[in-house]
């Protein structure tokens, strides 16, 4: 029988308001084996922890039950507390009486009753706990960054700066991401390329950083400190080591009618292309969907003009295996498709564009060379209508329920730039709310209104009718209580942003959790914002939620700091709650091995003493504790009940069941 101490936390009023903590402590004191039971205002505070430590010594406790918040919150805190007092940390059990009791119930009597039962279950479990010691596993001193946008680049640069090797995997032919497509950045209006391209070059020239462009992660195995990743280098039909990026092939290729993805299809490029002049790596790529040579075997112009002999039509996808200690996800975002918002006539008129398309139309390196011209007829627009929240803040099946965060600011930027460059244009912005939290953000928006004379209208656009070269916009002006009818030349839609499509399958590979919008979830929304709940996986940039550039960079560096902290360690402490077979009961049937997702189970032939002083050679299962992650699949698969899971043993769970049901 253990000597159990019970500590009931008030959590200020969080628990004490709905649970009679004194009564809980009193009732639990009568449970078998409980030698000490008390309650305290903040058990996790310094004083609370000291009280636990003193009690362990004073009452010679062998087991501790803490009735408090969720074990996901403070289990580690209390384990460390007890460890310092000389108790094995795995002799601590938490009864979750906050998240799963006081916060969800209003009636004090019911909540108290439930808290008692949860406490009993924990006591029943702790009686069967056994001291566990953690093993260690080595850390591979190399990091992988998935996604080469500004988030991925910043994370890689910071990790490399600390002296660790980093690989960037980028699915496009060049790193740089969305920021390469942006013209100016708010609220300073400096040019995006001017601040981004030096970083791209830094990344390319850093000897600690290796860039896998036009590549994807195809499989991830292993665990924190020891990930085994397969990277697929997609065939670009150009030898990266030979190509000098001279661009001659991209001028001579006869296939001219390929929609230019970099300019969002606003103009065309060739079938062999370098996305833009400052691409990193500056290497050509053949678009297999359009290349005549690859499709019909007749052409070969690029190969003929290439003096470096870099063109290789026979190139195949290559797979590279690499080991990493940590993985950073930086997969970024995309604007949503606007197919379902045709009240804005997006599919009916080329003059209705998304904000990102507008960005290209304003960009000096864009299809119009930086002069704002209507896509339909190349004329200067004189009236431009901006519509905000297209697909954001929606409670329907078409849109996203969240605020996309960046649209208010970039729309203010667009509106301001239009008025600055072309003072003869009338600019309207239809908004629901203007959200400008951020340093110098509101000042920026006010400048758009006060100095640049942008017409901000509280209301929405209901219908856009393209007719005779104009866009007839019907909108509401809620403050003026009128319906506006504007003959516009262009309509710009601030489309909601969503996580990149590659994020969902990647999350599955990484076993990292995602929310219902496919944003990666963080380990704690406030206290661990750059880590995934899955150990060794870190989050950088918009894959975790909508973010502007300053925030993305801040988070990227934060993620890098976490990675550096991890890679600095030589060994990681393993989870000691691993599976363990009872060799006497094991009959070597291999059932457990088949269900183990980690290959942690092997079999050995072992000598056992048989009847009449004979020895028997029997095949029994062995678990590698450094590899076992403690899921418990094998324990249920074992037909003889030989396999058990330390920390969550059959007896422990049964004891909890009994305590709850009695």
């Amino acid at each position: 029988m253990q000597r159990v101490g019970v500590f009931v936390c008030w959590c200020g009023s969080n628990i004490a308001a709905t649970v009679d903590v004194e009564k809980v402590a009193e009732v639990l004191a009568k449970e078998p084996g409980v030698v000490f039971s008390t309650n305290y205002q903040y058990m996790c505070s310094q004083a609370g922890q000291e009280m636990i430590q003193e009690s362990i010594a004073k009452y010679n406790l062998t087991g501790v039950v803490i009735c408090s918040c969720s074990p996901r919150m403070h289990e580690n805190t209390f384990r460390k507390t007890c460890e310092k007092a000389g108790l094995n940390p795995y002799m601590v059990e938490i009864a979750n009486i906050r998240e799963q009791c006081s916060w969800i119930h209003k009636d004090k009597e019911t909540a108290t009753e439930k808290a008692v039962i949860l406490g009993r279950a924990a006591i029943a479990k702790v009686h069967l706990n056994a001291p566990l010691t953690s093993g260690t596993s080595p850390v591979k001193k190399r990091a992988l960054v998935i996604g080469g946008g500004i988030a991925g680049i910043q994370t890689a640069l910071d990790i490399a700066d600390a002296g660790f090797d980093v690989d960037i995997v980028e699915k496009e032919p060049t790193i740089g991401g969305k920021m390469t497509q942006i013209d100016k950045t708010f609220p300073t209006l400096d040019c995006a390329a001017c601040i981004l391209t030096p970083k791209m070059v830094d990344a390319a020239q850093n000897e600690k950083i290796h860039i896998y462009s036009y590549s994807e992660v195809s499989s991830v195995k292993g665990f924190v400190g020891n990930f085994k990743v397969t990277i697929k280098k997609k065939a670009r039909y150009v030898d990266e080591t030979k190509c000098t990026g001279c661009g001659l092939c991209t001028e001579k290729c006869p296939q001219k009618k390929v929609p230019n993805a970099f300019n969002l299809g606003l103009d065309n490029r060739r079938a062999i292309y370098i996305p833009f002049a400052q691409a990193v790596p500056k290497v050509a790529t053949i678009d297999a969907d359009y290349c005549t040579m690859l499709k019909s075997g007749k052409c070969g112009v690029c190969s003929k003009v290439c003096t470096a002999g870099a063109i290789d039509y026979t190139q195949k996808d290559a797979f590279i295996e690499q080991e990493y200690g940590a993985i950073v996800v930086a997969t970024g975002f995309n604007p949503i498709k606007l197919d379902q918002y045709d009240e804005f006539a997006y599919s009916q008129s080329p003059d209705v564009v998304t904000s990102l398309e507008f960005e290209r139309l304003m960009n000096a390196a864009g299809p119009t060379g930086g002069t704002l011209l209507r896509p339909s007829d190349g004329q200067h627009p004189h009236t431009i209508v901006f519509v905000q929240c297209v697909g954001s803040r929606c409670d329907d099946s078409k849109g996203k329920p969240y605020c996309s965060k960046i649209c208010c600011m970039y729309t203010a930027k667009h509106a301001m730039l239009c008025r600055e460059k072309y003072p003869d244009t009338d600019v309207y912005v239809f908004y629901i709310d203007v959200r400008t939290p951020g340093k110098n953000f509101d000042e920026f928006y006010r400048r758009a209104v006060e100095e640049y004379g942008v017409h901000y209208v509280k209301g929405m656009v209901g219908k856009v009718v393209p007719e005779n070269g104009k866009l007839k916009v019907q909108a509401s002006d809620l403050i003026g209580n009128q319906q506006l009818h504007i003959d516009a030349d262009m309509v710009v839609l601030a489309a909601a942003i969503e996580p990149d499509k590659s994020a969902r399958p990647l999350a599955t590979m990484l076993t990292a959790s995602m929310d219902t919008n496919d944003f990666f979830t963080e380990a704690h929304p406030k206290l661990r914002p750059v880590e995934s709940p899955t150990a060794g996986i870190f989050l950088s940039g918009a894959c975790q939620g909508p973010k502007d550039i300053p925030e993305t960079v801040a988070q990227a560096s934060a993620a890098a700091a976490k990675v550096i902290g991890l890679l600095n360690k030589d060994h990681l402490v393993c989870n000691p709650c691993t599976a363990q077979p009872d060799e006497l009961m094991c009959n070597g049937c291999s059932s457990c091995e088949k269900v183990c997702p980690y290959g942690a189970i092997t079999y050995v032939d072992k000598e056992f003493r048989g009847p009449n002083r004979t020895t028997l050679l029997r095949r029994v299962a062995q678990v590698n504790p450094a590899v076992c992650q403690g899921c418990g699949a094998c324990t249920v698969a074992c037909p003889s009940g030989a396999m058990d899971l330390k920390g969550f043993s059959n007896k422990q769970i049964m004891a909890e069941v009994d305590a709850i049901c009695r």
Binding site: D339, Q340, Y341, D342, E343, A345, S347, Q348, S397, K463, V464, V465, P466, E467, N468
Partner: protein, 263 residues
């Protein structure tokens, strides 16, 4: 294939031709519309209020009659379609309405929206197929530039009607292509024509219709088709200087070569 058919008030009186052309075309395409024996007017307006039960009953009777025959219920008039489909949806999803209806009609087992409601156009698209229709066309309407006018009731609310994309529908355009003509897409094809107000305020209806006509004409349409008898009336009678407007079954019958014979 045989369907139960709910013609509705207008097609039995002022709009007989539409009904006749619709049925003749159906035969030419190999399906039969079997008129429900004792159908009652659907009421022309979907009763949005949850406590309006009596106004839902005629639709329920029609739905149950079709259900008993094991047939889908086909409508031609878009108002009937709108009302019956949404009432059916109510009975499928709203337990209170279902129970109240069952008590009104003294049903032993409540009707829970089991019957499928299809618009004639949906039959063409989903059951016959526009490619099959194209093959059966004998007089393709080559060279005619036709704008489709959808109106409100076929499309909205899309979550209940499930007819087509409510903001960028294509079913009538596909239909126009199938009968050999050229569809003209214009943005106001799903904006309200103001038909319900024609009794109350003709001037308002005219304003709405003129905007639609102007938009269609400016986009290159030379004539319009519609699937709603009220829209048809409104577009024809209340336009200041309108394009010719036809019910879609008229052009269908013409393309299939059964227009004259049916009369």
């Amino acid at each position: 294939m045989t369907y139960s058919y709910f013609p509705g008030c207008t097609l039995k009186t002022k709009g007989k031709d539409l009904d006749i052309w619709g049925r003749a075309s159906a035969e030419a395409l190999g399906f039969t519309l079997e008129e429900l024996p004792d159908w009652q007017c659907c009421g022309a307006v979907y009763p949005m209020a949850k406590d309006e039960i009596a106004t839902r009953l005629s639709s329920v009777r029609a739905l149950m009659a079709a259900g008993e025959k094991g047939q889908d219920l086909v409508t031609l008039c878009s108002a009937c379609h709108h009302v019956i489909k949404r009432v059916n949806n109510d009975l499928r999803t709203d337990e209170t309405i279902r129970d109240k209806v069952a008590r009104y009609l003294k049903l032993e087992t409540p009707y829970a929206g089991e019957t499928n409601v299809r618009h004639y156009l949906e039959v063409l698209r989903d059951k016959i197929g526009f490619d099959v229709l194209k093959e059966k066309v004998v007089n393709p309407l080559t060279g005619r530039k036709i704008g489709a006018y959808y109106g409100c009731m076929l499309l909205r609310p899309a979550s209940e009607m499930g007819f087509d994309d409510p903001e960028n529908p294509t079913i009538l355009e596909d239909f126009i292509r199938a009968i050999g003509a050229e569809p003209v897409i214009y943005a106001r094809r799903n904006e309200c024509c103001g038909g319900y107000c024609t009794i109350k305020d003709k001037g308002f209806a005219t304003k709405q219709v003129d905007a639609i006509m102007e938009n269609a004409r400016n986009c290159g349409a030379e004539e319009l088709i519609t699937a709603c008898p009220l829209c048809l009336y409104n577009l024809k009678e209340n336009a200041t200087d309108g394009l010719p407007v036809a019910y879609f079954t008229e052009l269908l019958a013409e393309a299939l070569g059964v227009k004259e014979a049916a009369k």
